[in-house]
């Protein structure tokens, strides 16, 4: 599929989701769907750095929260509509990503992973002490009652997130098949060799941390409107860091499709587990699912399918 066709497919899906908001009455589906879409964005974002480039970011929760708190900070200062806030969050988190890239230029492998973890903790401490955004006491952001065109704000949030998911997936697919993506893959396979072959590793890594960070920020931006109340422990929840890593792993980290599948499967399973099993067992299921998947399907579902049908290696 060419980028052009794919663009229209993705655009079509966004329109479908717009239609869904009109066709479905039951708001629960939008709440649940929002969460899954949010994980598609987050997992895809993680994968651009983690899957394509091979740099494991443990600090996804930090970027996610930075996105969410950018919204809070701006809203507490000047009242802008959400659609204007989202790009701001993207820019802020992109800059944080760029800064992370610079700061950790010399680090490889596990060192990089630990550095991102440390970064998330530093960010959390800063937020917890920043009174403008509520500090550790948390902040309220009230959802507007009315929103143009949509029946309720939740439908609007759902649609917004599907738009962001479309952007993220399109970007990931575009990157994967571009020169840029091949450069990243070369870094993943062997950074030293890539360097000596004339791949501008430094520049590519910086671009990749920036894009990945920005997309994570996008995923976090509408979060405050979803929960209406935000405090550092919920925004920096370990769950986001874990899921951002686990979803691409389950889906298959080398392809743009992997995180999408992983997010739908694991995110969906979590949603269902939340409302069916409702006990500590649902944490257990996520745990077991992770263990089983990485043992049985080490290259994720995409890898598994590819092995079974191995005809088009580029999928």
């Amino acid at each position: 599929m060419s980028h052009r066709t794919f663009f229209f497919v993705v655009l079509g899906l966004v329109l479908v989701s717009l239609g869904l908001t009109k066709a479905i009455e039951n708001e629960y589906y939008f709440f649940a769907g929002y969460v899954i879409l949010q994980y598609i964005v987050l997992a895809t974002a993680w994968n651009i750095l983690g899957g394509f480039t091979g740099y494991v970011n443990f600090g996804s929760a930090g970027f996610f929260a930075a996105g969410a708190y950018t919204t809070v900070a701006v809203v507490k200062w000047v009242d802008l509509p959400l659609l204007a806030l989202i790009p701001l969050s993207g820019i802020v988190c992109g800059l944080i990503g760029l800064a992370t890239g610079y700061l950790t230029l010399r680090l490889r492998g596990v060192y990089f992973a630990i550095a991102t973890l440390a970064l998330a903790i530093v960010l959390e401490t800063i937020i917890a002490n920043w009174e403008h955004v509520g500090g550790a006491a948390g902040a309220f952001v009230i959802r507007p009652k009315e929103v143009m065109f949509f029946d309720s704000y939740v439908e609007f949030l759902f649609w917004t997130m599907s738009l962001l998911a479309a952007i993220a997936v399109f970007a990931a697919r575009y990157i994967q098949h571009s020169r840029f993506g091949r450069g990243l893959a070369a870094i993943r396979d062997d950074e030293g060799v890539a360097e000596s072959m004339g791949v501008p590793t430094l520049k590519l890594k910086l671009m990749s941390t920036t894009i990945s960070g920005a997309l994570m920020g996008l995923a976090g931006a509408p979060f405050v409107y979803y929960v209406t109340y935000i405090d550092p422990p919920s925004a920096f929840n370990l769950e986001y860091a874990v899921n951002a890593v686990a979803m691409p792993m389950i889906g298959g980290p080398t392809s743009w499709l992997g995180p999408v599948i992983g997010a739908v499967l694991l995110g969906g399973a979590q949603q269902i587990a939340t409302v069916t099993i409702s006990s500590e067992l649902n944490l257990l299921i996520v745990g077991i699912m992770l263990v089983v998947f990485v043992i049985v399907a080490p290259d994720g579902i995409v890898g598994l399918v590819r092995r079974l049908f191995s005809k088009d290696p580029r999928a």
Binding site: V9, L13, V16, L20, A23, I24, N26, E27, Y28, Y29, F30, F31, A32, G33, V35, I36, I40, T125, A128, N129, G135, A136, A137, G138, F140, I142, R143, S152, V154, F223, Y226, V227, T228, Y229, I230, D231, P232, P233, S234, N237, E239, V260, I261, V264, L265, G268, A269, Q271, I272, T274, V275, T276, I277, S278, S279, E280, N282, L283
Partner: protein
């Protein structure tokens, strides 16, 4: 199941998968029984940071359900609970409540435990005009001002202030009068709010604030904090902390020998059996907030019967074996809702809300009436002092006199021993 039919043919697999997931969800846990029970829905922290309290609350609500069903049900219909684990994660809450309302079609909703998971549910309740009984949300409704929100925490219309008012009232009764105060608390939602109130109360009492810091919730060693406080030598030390840090602070204070007239205030956790048992005599002299203690002044009708049932279950369930802190309030919350439903003779949310707003309720935690923002009309935050604790047995805490009520006067059951170092 309409949705499934409409979108059965969506060709993209992830939407398919998503819908399949939803379809599974919508089958739901329980099918409507023939005797048509009244269904009450809520999310509760059964895992995660607040799971200990959440589980105790769940047990209490289940006791209430069994009690009311044994007495013939609500409006003559049996009561059924529909609840999900919110994992102490606010992000789960909106989904849970929309599912409860839209798919499980529950008749009534109540909240989970704690502000962080209560607040995200309020806009949902507002959206569907449902009465929302809240279990220990600290000032959650301040921003929303929802008139069908009722909160059982006895902190009154100004929860932040009331939380520590008693502490400072008691402090100013000490002789000689204290002049300086140190404030310390965790970097988290409740402690930060409590400190805001404490600051206001300290200023109102004319105390000079000589130390005012927060520490991160992950702090392990409190010696540096306590040493710093010792170096400024305050008369009164107000602490707002969560259970693990409460234990750490109490231990550090005992070890380092804090000299203060009054110590305590807003420590969460020292009311819990596990901590009381482990800390034992180290608690002596601490003046701290509480909601209910087994003192003669607080012997409300029904409380002992409830606690007996609760305590019989609690040990095995791995939750607080005494259950003085939260469980009676979880039960009382349901009592209020039930009385309003019975009195209005139906499930009209409008009438139920009106009834709760305008009546006084006799519950296991005493008489309750609601005022502004759905908080108690008048605060009943207790200040108790731990006295005469000899060892680490749990039984002593079931007797009156180990935690005497100092404030408010209406409920007072003993005298302050000051300074703090003497009471030890």
């Amino acid at each position: 199941m309409q949705q499934r039919r409409i979108f059965g043919g969506t060709r993209r697999f992830f939407f398919g998968a998503m819908l399949a997931a939803f379809a599974l969800v919508s089958i739901g846990p329980a099918v409507q029984a023939e005797d048509d029970p009244i269904r009450i829905g809520f999310g509760m922290a059964l895992t995660g940071a607040l799971a200990g309290a959440g589980k105790a609350a769940l047990i209490s609500i289940e006791i209430w359900r069994d009690d009311i069903n044994a007495a013939g049900g609500l409006l003559g219909r049996p009561v059924e609970l529909v609840f999900y684990d919110d994992q102490t994660n606010p992000a789960k809450v909106p989904g849970i409540y929309t599912k409860l309302i839209n798919i499980d079609r529950v008749d009534l909703i109540v909240s989970g435990y704690g502000s962080a998971t209560i607040t995200p549910a309020i806009p949902i309740a507002m959206n569907y005009d449902m009465v929302f009984m809240s279990l220990f949300g600290l000032a959650s409704n301040e921003e929303f001002g929802y008139d069908r929100y009722f909160q059982i925490l006895p902190a009154g219309p100004e929860p932040r202030i009331e939380w520590s008012r008693g502490f400072f009232e008691v402090a100013m009764r000490a002789d000689p009068k204290p002049t300086t105060v140190a404030l310390v608390g965790a970097d988290a939602e409740f402690p930060r709010n409590a400190l805001i109130g404490a600051r206001a109360n300290a200023e109102a009492a004319g105390l000079e604030i000589v130390y005012d810091e927060t520490y991160p919730p992950t702090t392990v060693d409190f010696s540096p904090v306590i040493r710093k406080i010792q170096s400024v030598n305050p008369d009164v030390v107000y602490v707002a902390s969560y259970p693990p840090d409460s234990a750490g602070i109490v231990r550090s204070v005992t070890e380092l020998g804090l000299e203060a007239k009054l110590f305590g205030g807003g420590m969460v956790g020292v009311q819990f059996a596990s901590l009381m048992e482990a800390l034992g005599p180290q608690l002596n002299g601490i003046v701290n907030y509480d909601f209910w203690v087994p003192e003669p002044t607080l012997n409300f009708p029904g409380i002992n019967a409830f606690l007996e049932k609760y305590q019989a279950i609690a040990e095995d369930a791995g939750v607080d074996p005494l259950g003085y802190y939260l469980p009676p309030f979880a039960y009382a919350n349901m009592q209020i809702l039930a009385e309003a439903v019975e009195a209005t003779g139906g499930l009209d949310q409008d009438q139920i809300a009106d009834y709760i707003r305008s009546n006084e309720f006799e519950t296991v935690v005493g008489d309750v009436s609601f005022g502004a923002n759905g908080e108690w009309a008048k605060s009943r935050m207790l200040m108790v002092q731990y006295q005469g604790i000899e060892d680490q047995s749990l039984e002593q805490f079931t007797e009156a006199g180990t935690r005497v009520v100092l404030y408010p006067e209406d409920w007072q059951s003993g005298k302050l021993i000051a300074p703090y170092s003497d009471a030890k």
